[in-house]
Amino acid sequence: MADAPAQPAPAAAAAAGNPHKRKNKGKGNPNKKNKKLKGPDDATRRRHKPSAKFLKLLEKRARDYNSDDDDDAPQVRPRRSQPRPPPKQRDAAPDGDDDLKEAPSSEEEASSSGGESDGEKAVTMFQEGCRAFQAAFTKIMEKKLADNPLGPILSADKKLVAAKLAEEADEHKSKGEARKEKRLAAQKGHKIPENAIDNKEKMLIKVATQGVVRLFNEVSKRQTRKGLNPSSKDVKSLAKHSVPSSEGQQGQGSSKFSKNIGKGEDEPGWAPLRDTYMLGSKLKDWDKAQDSDVAKPSEVPLDNFSDDE
């Protein structure tokens, strides 16, 4: 009999702790329950020790008890207590925490009536079981736990625990080291520039600036000249040779532009009008002799122009 209250009680505890579980899972009749429902606080408080109120009530009943009134009182009580266990037992299964609320209330009634009602065998045994359970539970809850950060250790073998802890710490350390190494390897080569621009960078910027300046000067020369005086010189040679010639003065090493298109002056400006549009320089004079190869610098990057749209 002690098992029955023990089993629903932990379930009730779990259910009470779970905020998502609905309290009256479909079967509860709120009206019936509300009569004896105490708040959850009362139930939890009851686990630690009986409340002062309850004690007072017990005392009051003990005071009021008069064995001369046996005829009336027990009749009232059993009748009242009888309907209570059936509904309680009926709902014991689905309603975990209601059971807990019922238990103290039925305990109240049962404890007062238990002694004298011999006919209520079930109630008596239940009451004893309840009392025993209450005593045991209270004893457990009163026990002070050691303030161990690991929590309560069920097996008191300290050595085992220490070994396990050491192993865990080791694992943790090696994992941490591995992670650090991995991160270092990932950053390999990543060099964050310092604030000040040092000499090397300044030199690089200078080189780049010279390249840009040269290009811009070329462009401005070409573009201002274009309208005025089309030069008779081959423009291609201008592009190729004048640039290298100015390098010697700079002494910096050659700078080359992105591919410079120089075309003959006699060719139209718009690309599709040219003879070499999409054909490349090779097929320019396809009907003429092969020796005259005024190779235009406009090479087609891919030879397979057949897939051009």
Partner: protein, 342 residues
């Protein structure tokens, strides 16, 4: 591209924008008649997060002719990219990888072009560079045009660097000096070869033109379009002629001055002198060329891994290593064989 928005219910788009969109999608440059080189920047293998940022920076660098939001999956292999590339007109691949925790960048031409593998010795992200500058400058419109490419220090190097230079020149659309508008040249990519360390410095700058001979105050006035504070001054001439502080970054030698052909913007007008000022944006890398293959990440190896051997085809050379021997390079300089092999 999108239509001109004349139909009912279509969003109205100005003609210039529609034309620009079409220009980017086009395969052939309208003016020069050549194919526009487009590129894919992607990675092979797992990359740590900083290398992913580097990949994104490189994509921004290759704008506008690249897929900025290219999505790659683990199971894509190179063949998938090649297959997708040809209908879209993509001609170049930039492949980031991280074998043995050493970042490598491969430049390749699709579909059967040569592949240049460079090991990245050091790199810095665009965000790092912006953090290190006092006034970082990276307006979004400078990515609307391709960068200019400047290669320096590659003189007289012979193979494989000669083809490397040609490769890079083809990586960006060609510039027609007769018709190019200077306002479209807003970025510059610099590759400089350092002979002692044999490293290639890779830098990305933004170009800013500043009129020369204009005092700082007047320049700011024109830029800000705000009325200056003349409370303490008696006359406007005080404001204009007051000697201000010299700018701390006065690099303007004669070397940096250009004379413009046309109006660039409000400040830089035609046939006036302007100074070219560069500011670094974008990733910064130091790389070393370690391998050249004749195919797309396959084929004959044209340039062996370790430096200082006779440059010949074949892989037998890689096995031979002798620290004491002096070996001759192709261009005649002699060098100690201190090659480092991976």
């Amino acid at each position: 591209g999108k239509g001109n928005g004349k139909g009912p219910g279509k969003r109205k788009m100005p003609l210039s924008v529609a034309r620009k969109q079409q220009a980017v999608l086009a395969n052939v440059d309208q003016v020069t008649g050549e194919r526009i080189p487009k590129s894919f920047v992607f990675s092979r293998g797992k990359l740590p997060s900083t290398l992913r940022h580097l990949q994104q920076d490189l994509r921004k660098l290759m704008l506008p002719y690249t897929a900025l939001k290219l999505k790659e999956k683990k199971r894509n292999n190179l063949k998938d990219f090649v297959n997708v590339a040809s209908p879209l007109g993509v001609t170049h691949f930039l492949i980031l990888s991280n074998p043995k925790s050493l970042p490598h960048l491969r430049f390749a031409k699709s579909p059967q072009g040569p592949t240049y593998t460079c090991q990245i010795l050091e790199y810095a992200l665009a965000a790092d560079i912006a953090n290190s500058q006092k006034r970082p400058r990276c307006p979004a419109e400078i990515f609307k045009n391709s960068p200019l490419v400047v290669l320096s220090g590659f003189n007289g190097l012979g193979e494989p660097f000669k083809s490397f230079v040609t490769f890079f020149r083809h990586l960006v659309p060609a510039i027609d000096t007769d018709t190019v508008k200077l306002s479209t040249c807003q970025r510059i990519l610099l590759l400089q070869y350092d002979k002692e360390t044999e490293a290639i410095d890779f830098r990305h700058y933004s170009i800013k033109l500043q009129p020369v001979g204009v005092s700082r105050k007047i320049r700011k006035l024109m830029q800000n379009n705000q009325v200056p504070d003349l409370r303490d001054l008696k006359d406007v001439s005080d404001y204009v002629t007051k000697a201000g502080y010299g700018s701390e970054s006065e690099p303007d030698d004669e070397a940096a001055t250009v004379s413009l052909a046309s109006d660039i913007d409000k400040l830089n007008r035609a046939s006036r002198k302007s100074a070219v000022r560069l500011q670094e944006i974008g990733p910064r890398m130091t790389m070393r060329l370690v391998k050249v293959e004749s195919g797309l990440c396959s084929g004959d190896i044209l340039y062996p891994q370790s430096v200082g051997k006779d440059v010949k085809e074949g892989q037998e050379e890689e096995e031979i290593e002798d620290a004491e021997d002096m070996m001759e390079l192709e261009d005649g300089t002699e060098e100690d064989d201190s090659g480092d092999e991976e």
